[in-house]
């Protein structure tokens, strides 16, 4: 187990290095005259040159990357070129928002998706067909469409949830929850559909197996069969879908953050990318990779715990 985790972490670190280098190069290629955009409309040419030197923009790209990575390794991500705010502070402030949405959506969609998938697999018949249709619709319609519908009905019309804004957990747990309900719901619908589909087919498959018949003939109750055996064997596919979707959720939160005016990483990433705020973009890339590696590691360990057959000794 320890070796497994260590191997995963090592490959995660290599991933961070490789992706950072490639991204750095891509941003460099795409951004045009950043120094001029930073100093603004009123600057003279000399002021632009001075700014470029100050930021190291006149150096070759490999040198710039080395400068950045030597500081990033010790956790110093620098300051935003455009707003002069410390990046670590910015990210620590915004990360909880994006994570709340992404993790919240994952948990909700896992719970609901598994429940729906199991229900469809067990009951079959009209319920199964109805759930299939609902799942396809949920999967096909984009998250922001759900967001707009939910906001218009549950917030503006019915006043049940706030339309915009994020309440930090430390300020008010119930406020935090209620500011998250609509964003999480909008994102979770699509992921729930995907998970429900996977779980449904996997459970149907498992229930058809011979060993299930023998378990039943040995007198195990229905729910014991489902929860102790069938789900365990069906979980790998659900977890795979979930880990893939989590990455989507991290990114897809951008539009949701816009619609609900949530101060998350999404808008900051968008602005930084459009403007060419290199330190911010690089920091976000590093953080995102780390989060994805950790989440996938957790899911893989859960995978192994649920299903001894795939455990790595």
């Amino acid at each position: 187990m320890v070796r497994f985790v260590a191997a995963r972490l090592t490959s995660g670190i290599i991933l961070v290095v490789v992706v950072s280098a490639i991204s750095f190069w891509l941003i460099y290629l795409g951004s045009g005259d950043i120094a001029r955009t930073i100093v603004g409309d009123g600057a003279t040419d000399e002021q632009v040159v001075v700014k470029a030197q100050e930021l190291g923009l006149d150096q070759p790209i490999a040198a710039q990357f080395l400068m950045w990575s030597s500081r990033a390794i010790i956790g110093d991500f620098g300051v935003s070129w455009f707003t002069n705010q410390g990046i670590s502070t910015l990210i620590t402030a915004k990360l909880p928002v994006t994570l709340s949405i992404a993790v919240g959506s994952s948990l909700v969609s896992a719970a609901v998706g598994i429940a729906l998938g199991v229900a469809a697999a067990l009951r079959r018949g009209w319920l199964d067909r109805a759930l299939q249709i609902v799942a396809i619709v949920g999967f096909a319609l984009p998250g922001f469409w759900f967001a707009l519908v939910l906001v218009a009905t549950l917030s503006v019309q019915a006043g049940l949830f706030p339309a915009t804004g994020y309440v930090p957990l430390s300020a008010s747990p119930s406020g935090w929850l209620s500011s998250l309900v609509l964003p999480v719901a909008s994102l979770a619908i699509g992921v729930t559909a995907a998970i429900a589909q996977q779980v449904r087919s996997a459970v149907i498959d498992v229930l058809r197996q011979d060993y299930i018949r023998s378990l039943r003939s040995r007198g195990l109750s229905g729910s014991q069969i489902v929860f102790k055996h069938a789900l365990r064997n069906a979980s790998p596919s659900a977890l795979t879908v979930l880990s893939l979707q989590f990455i989507n959720l991290l990114g897809g939160a951008v539009i949701i953050e816009r619609i609900f005016a949530l101060p998350g990483l999404g808008q900051m990433t968008l602005d930084a990318t459009v403007q060419g705020d290199v330190p911010v973009i690089m920091a976000i890339i590093v953080f995102t990779i780390v989060i994805v590696v950790v989440v996938n590691l957790i899911l893989d360990v859960a995978y192994g715990w649920l299903n001894p057959k795939v455990r790595i000794a």
Binding site: S31, A93, P162, A163, L177
Partner: protein, 510 residues
């Protein structure tokens, strides 16, 4: 059996959680609306720095207004009124402006407001690189005449200087804060409010609380002002509808019906954003046809301004052949009839100028342009003028347009005081005269306007305007209306020339 009990337990738990969550939230989380407690404004602009030289005279300055007083106040008719300066007077050459200052104002860090402070602020501003700095670059010296008397010396007269001293250039920060170098993150002024750094969440909610010692408290009835940056128009309207905000600014005509049926108030007023083609290449370097006024006139005749305003802007705009603000001294009603929609006349002019086989004009194209570009391409194409768009990334759009590498650009610019428009578009080194085009008649008229007394300027501006329209220096399309939506219990006074009215424009309805 086990399954059924577990299911009902699950449902019961979910129901309980839902009840708790919804009962603790409801609609508004702020005390906004109706009371004098808080004014919450959902705005489309963001702020990066609280240091005045970094900020333009555009919507972003609303983040600085609560904290800083300006030297003078611009009222709702764009007239200059006293604020920190009580009296002022130009000398005969219009190059020395002497201002008498209030003697009872202190900054919130305890520093005195006096002539030294004005000098420190203006010098700090002139050393900056933001978009508003060039508007007052005529200032060459600031002289402390007396403790509360300051004299501003100009290299050449600046007809709009007093207006600029009511905007970002005139914002007065504590000299100690300037020296401390921290103004970008910690603004210290003498204004009606102070920034509440504890309650402020950057990029989410900016909170300003009342400055208890403010010398003109009656003008600002709200205890607290909150600015909520929201990039999305729908989010701003939703915040307004659920009571989280009292005002949503920078809205579009698309939202008016929905807002009014929800009991909100839409305020529509012309603030002075002109949209159209800026024809930089009047010397014909990239596009030889543009050197001939007849070609530029043909462009003006080829487009149907009325139809564009009706269909693309729901009628919320004023068709215009002029670049000067309709409410300004430079506007001439008759000039708007100079170019009716007449494609035949356009084609005739093109033939007469020897360009019957067409003229091509390349402009930078970026995603924020909307449908207007498509319509212009089509209408100009019908008379033989090809408007080609070259795609540029959004963030580079401004830089590209002003780079001098294109014969023209589709612009949306503030045009309020005629001198401001001249500085922005007509002088050889103006940012929006991208190829530095000069014309002796225009230069002469600009010089006379610069040196003219207040009473004589209007006639000169109008003469300049007529010349520009006759020679078709530009292809303006319309002046866009500004749309703000507010709650029924907030009173909003539109301010001439302001896309975003100052704080004084808002009061709770009595």
């Amino acid at each position: 059996m086990v399954r059924k009990r577990k299911t009902s337990l699950f449902i019961a738990t979910m129901a309980a959680v839902t009840l708790v969550v919804t009962s603790c939230s409801g609609g508004s989380e702020s005390g906004g609306g109706g009371s004098a407690a808080e004014l919450a404004i959902a705005t489309g602009s963001q702020i990066n720095s609280y240091d005045p030289p970094d900020v333009g005279d555009n919507p972003a300055s609303q983040y600085l207004q609560p904290v800083y007083d300006t030297l003078v106040r611009i009222d709702e008719d764009a007239e200059v009124q006293p604020r920190l300066a009580t009296e002022w007077e130009y000398d005969a050459t219009l190059t020395e402006l002497t201002m008498t200052l209030r003697d009872d104002v202190t900054f919130t860090d305890g520093e005195e407001f006096d002539a030294e402070a004005v000098k420190a602020n203006l010098e700090h501003f002139l050393a900056g690189t933001g978009p508003a700095v060039r508007t007052v670059s005529d200032i060459e010296n600031v002289e402390v005449v007396d403790e509360h008397v300051v004299r501003i010396d100009l290299a050449t007269p600046n007809p709009a200087l007093l207006r600029y001293l009511g905007l970002t250039a005139g914002m007065m920060a504590s000299p100690a804060a300037i020296a401390g170098g921290d103004l970008a993150t910690t603004p210290i002024g003498s204004g009606p409010y102070v920034l509440d750094t504890g309650a402020t969440v950057p990029q989410s909610r900016y909170v300003y609380t009342r400055n208890e010692d403010y010398w003109n408290a009656e003008a600002y009835p709200y205890e607290e002002v909150a600015l909520l940056p929201m990039v999305d128009h729908t989010a701003r309207l939703n915040a307004l509808r659920t009571g989280q905000a009292d005002v949503a600014n920078q809205m579009t005509s698309r939202f008016i019906d929905e807002a009014e049926s929800a009991g909100l108030v839409a305020t529509i007023f012309p603030s002075g954003d002109v949209m159209g083609l800026d024809l930089f290449d009047r010397a014909g370097t990239f596009s030889p046809g543009l050197a001939d006024p007849r070609v530029r006139q043909a462009m003006n005749l080829a487009i149907d301004r009325e139809q564009i305003v009706e269909q693309l802007y729901d009628g919320r705009g004023l068709p215009s052949t002029q670049i000067f603000n309709p409410d300004s001294d430079a506007w001439v009603d008759e000039l708007n009839d100079a170019y009716p929609y007449d494609p035949d006349a356009a084609r005739a002019l093109l033939a007469e100028s020897g360009h019957a086989d067409g003229v091509t004009v390349t402009i930078p194209e970026y995603s924020g342009m909307g449908d207007l570009l498509a319509v212009l391409k089509q209408q100009l194409g019908e008379v033989g003028i090809t408007l080609e768009g070259k795609t540029v990334p959004d963030a580079q759009a401004n830089t590209e347009m002003r780079s001098g590498n294109y014969p023209a650009a589709l612009i949306q610019l503030q045009s309020n005081d005629p001198w401001q428009a001249i500085q922005l578009m007509l002088q050889p080194n103006s940012p929006w005269n991208a190829m530095g085009f000069e014309d002796p008649s225009v230069s002469a008229l600009i010089d006379s306007a610069r040196n003219a007394g207040e009473g004589e300027r209007a006639a000169i501006y109008q003469e300049l305007n007529s010349y520009l329209v006759d020679e078709a220096w530009f292809m303006p399309v319309l002046f866009i209306d500004t749309i703000m939506i507010s709650s029924a219990d907030t009173e909003l006074t539109p301010y001439k020339y302001s896309v975003v009215p100052p704080l004084e424009a808002f009061r709770p309805k009595a």
